[in-house]
């Protein structure tokens, strides 16, 4: 049962990264691909109707994690106290920048909201990447199952790590590059003319950076967390996940060259899902490795909630997800198609 929930939480996290990832990425490239107010409205409106629904995946994923693996939720959230609070502030700033941009429309305010929106999106991508890096690398859990990490210490690995060290910074940068690529493909899919062209050529360029970072990241992750290659060696079917990531990566280049916007965006989704599932497959059954003493690591078995709760949870979770799929289908269909420039004034 705990393995089922491990997979379900992983799916929810992957859904969050794929969905909110494209609007974070769109935010990160906002100032670059859109140069005047009309163009910037195009970018904002390409994510306007969906971004907050995407963000709900973070809440739903967090809530699911809470009841399925309470010990992981407790250790992780208190241990990552400072970066999580910063993430919260960034989410608040980003939310009000998108919502209130339409209200205070003098040029100075517009500029201000655009910078807040873009800056917070960019930093969020880096922080989420660094968080993933921390989970893969391991954290200094004590015998009670708790830890606390400063934002940074000496930027080295070991048992006195901070949130940021050379490894997690690389993961953060890789996450940013991945989401920039993902967001650029989304914006290209949803817009026309100058914004579309700039996004597409940006995506083409960033693809090479993502390729390089993928290779580097894989190599150093195998060193930093030897459990990952060990898991792959003992369960060769797990090579499916890295293969998925690679096919997504290759597919992106192929479809970008063919200028097929939808398929290149979908390939990017596959790449992200492949990378995340590779990471969690590599960690399983650990959910939070301890850098102090392997015996202190949190696993699916010692972090899980009691069985009865997990069983009833599965029942409502499935019902809920069917409903969610229906809502998402409905909303994305309602707002399908390109954002039109001539509409840039008001309305939809």
């Amino acid at each position: 049962m705990q393995t089922v929930w491990f997979c379900l939480v992983a799916i929810m996290v992957a859904m969050y990264v794929v969905l909110d990832g494209f609007d974070l990425g769109a935010g990160a490239i906002h100032l670059w691909v859109a140069r005047d107010d009309g163009e910037r409205q195009q970018v904002i409106r390409s994510i306007g109707p969906v971004w907050d629904g995407n963000e709900v995946w973070l809440l739903a994923g967090g809530g699911t994690l809470y009841f399925a693996f309470p010990a992981l939720y407790a250790a992780g959230f208190s241990g990552f106290y400072l970066p999580l609070m910063i993430v919260l502030w960034l989410l608040i700033l980003r939310g009000i920048a998108v919502e209130f941009r339409g209200h205070l429309t003098t040029p100075v305010w517009l500029r201000f909201w655009d910078v807040v929106f873009s800056g917070s999106s960019l930093l969020l991508a880096v922080f989420f990447g660094a968080a993933l890096g921390n989970v893969v690398r391991g954290v200094p859990l004590n015998d009670q199952g708790y830890f606390f990490e400063a934002l940074w210490t000496n930027f080295r690995l070991g048992t006195n790590t901070g949130i940021l060290d050379w490894y997690t910074i690389i993961v953060g940068v890789a996450a940013l590059a991945t989401l920039v690529l993902h967001g650029a493909l989304w914006v290209a899919l949803k817009t026309e003319n100058a914004v579309h062209d700039r996004s597409f050529s940006l995506a083409h360029g960033v693809w090479w950076i993502v390729l390089v970072l993928t290779i580097v990241l894989t190599a150093i992750t195998f060193k930093v967390q030897p459990g990952v290659p060990a898991n792959l060696a003992s369960h060769p079917w797990g090579y499916f996940f890295p293969a998925l990531a690679l096919s997504g990566l290759a597919g992106m280049l192929w479809f970008i060259r063919k200028r097929d916007e939808l398929k290149s965006f979908l390939a990017s989704c596959i790449y992200i899902v492949g990378m995340l599932t590779s990471a969690v497959f590599g960690l399983y059954p650990l959910v939070l490795p301890a850098s102090t003493n392997p015996a202190y690591s949190l696993t699916v078995d010692n972090a899980k909630a009691p069985d009865y709760g997990l069983r009833v949870g599965l029942a409502w979770w499935i019902v809920g997800m069917i409903l969610v799929a229906a809502y998402h289908f409905h909303v994305y269909r309602s707002f399908a198609g390109k954002v039109k420039i001539e509409e840039s004034g008001k309305g939809y």
């Binding site: 992780g76 959230f77 106290y81 919502e99 009691p306």
Partner: protein, 457 residues
């Protein structure tokens, strides 16, 4: 002020108090908007649709504020209350997880359709979207209240060998009797806020002679809904909630009422200041035997005072608990009096010209917020010194590795950020009120609504 427990408590109290300023209005308004949309469908009168659109704009701004200030709440269980989350996550994680999966997705999907889709959906479809937003927000309210209810009155659990709390009945958790009454009381409190705000804006327009047709609708609906909700707030929901406290948390009851000594025929203190050092109530103004009657329905029954309980189980801030409770009850009583008077004038047909009553309605706007906040303070101070009543002390629930300095840092950060948010919020709401409801259905209103949520999309 340097121990982590105090700062963690302040942190949660500050962020949740600020957060709940917004949902109490959106939950109340969601119901009133459904009523407006229903009236529009029934009567075919376009002015109800115009009115609904105006309130949808206010709703949208409040909803956005509720969302951005609500996300930190879910995180804080883990960041600041890790030991509590670890012990109880298998139970309360259920209801919190369900809130995410069932309510938030429902609300976020249908709110977009409600705000942008009026033309596309048609009158029935739009009514349906409004209903779904209402259901989503009221379901969210239930799942949160039932979470708190479990902390007030833990049910449907057993203790495992290592002291972990194990859920034994899903329906027992969801149908906690405490939760059902607390929900009823809380939601009618939200309707009071929505109704008073609607009536206050209507009164403002009438007094300034603007948008008078709409203003009369706002005042009428506000007063009727306000009267019903204010009555329901005391009987049955407040009364039932009070007896629930007397049964499950008698020491809390004694502290709320400032009753230091156990006595037969206990009075209710309407006014008075608890003096905890000397264990007495100063300057009391009492109704004899009323507390005994309200609690046990017999005038001479014995009510336990604080002296019947060990001091370590007393709520740790008795004066603040006592004052919160008395402010809540006092305001609730004034609301009923005010709404009876206003409803009588409405029935007589003199309300719209009664400047004194309109002034009173307009100026009453902040008070439901104060009453709702005081009510939650009563619930949460009353639960102390327990985090889960009878099971876990508040002290035992905090994050062991997070220092008070770090919590101060983030508390100050939230204070700064929320101050900025408040200014922006007031400015935006002021602009909507200044602009007022607009006649002529269709495009113009849709555009204005779309400014507030999602940005033109």
């Amino acid at each position: 002020m340097h121990d982590a427990l105090t700062v963690d408590r302040l942190h949660f109290a500050y962020t949740v108090t600020f957060h709940y300023l917004f949902p109490q209005l959106t939950m109340g308004l969601a119901l009133l908007i459904v009523i407006l949309k229903t009236l529009a469908l029934r009567t075919g009168d376009e002015q109800y649709n115009d009115a609904a659109r105006f309130w949808a704009r206010i709703f949208g701004i409040n909803f956005a504020m509720g969302v951005v200030t609500g996300i930190p709440m879910e995180f804080q269980f883990g960041t600041n209350w890790a030991q509590f989350s670890r012990a109880a996550g298998g139970v309360i994680g259920q209801t919190l997880g369900m809130e995410g999966v069932f309510s938030f997705f429902l609300e976020s999907s249908f709110l977009g359709l409600f705000l942008f889709g009026e033309k596309r959906l048609g009158p029935r479809g739009h009514w349906w979207a409004a209903l779904m937003v209402f259901l989503g927000s009221w379901m969210s309210g239930y799942l949160i209240v039932v979470t708190d209810a479990w902390m007030q009155n833990p049910v449907a659990y057993r203790l495992g060998p290592n002291g972990e709390i194990i859920l034994t009945s899903f329906w027992g958790l969801l149908l906690n009797p405490w939760g059902i009454w607390q929900y009823a009381h809380n939601m009618s409190g939200a309707v009071i806020t929505g109704a008073f705000v609607m009536a206050a804006i209507g009164a403002f327009y009438l007094l300034t002679k603007q948008f008078q047709t709409y203003a009369k609708t706002f005042v009428r609906i506000g007063v009727i809904a306000g009267l019903v909700a204010a009555l329901f707030q005391i009987i049955p929901s407040g009364d039932a909630q009070g007896r629930m406290i007397a049964r499950h948390q008698p020491v809390t009851m004694a502290a709320m009422e400032g009753l230091f000594e156990t006595q037969k025929g206990a009075p209710i203190a309407v006014v008075g200041q608890p003096d905890v050092d000397n264990q007495r109530l100063d300057n009391p103004l009492e109704i004899p035997r009323a507390l005994s009657f309200l609690t046990y329905r017999r005038w001479m029954s014995e009510v336990k005072g604080l002296d019947a309980f060990p001091q370590q189980d007393w709520p740790d801030n008795i004066p603040l608990l006592y004052y919160s409770y008395h402010i809540m009850v006092g305001l609730g009583t004034i609301f009923i009096a005010m709404m009876i008077l206003a409803a009588w004038k409405l029935w007589r047909g003199t309300l719209y010209d009664s400047r004194g009553m309109l002034w009173a309605l307009m100026l009453s706007l902040p008070f439901p917020y104060i009453a709702n906040t005081a009510g939650w303070m009563t619930a949460e101070f009353g639960r102390q010194p327990w985090l889960i009543y009878g099971l876990m002390r508040t002290q035992a629930g905090i994050s062991p590795q997070v220092s008070s300095g770090n919590v101060w840092f983030t508390l100050i950060g939230f204070m700064g950020m929320y101050t900025v948010l408040s200014i922006l919020f007031l400015f935006m709401v002021y602009r909507v009120i200044e602009k007022g409801p607009e006649t002529a259905g269709g495009s113009k209103q849709n555009d204005s609504a779309s400014e507030f949520f999602h940005e033109p999309g």
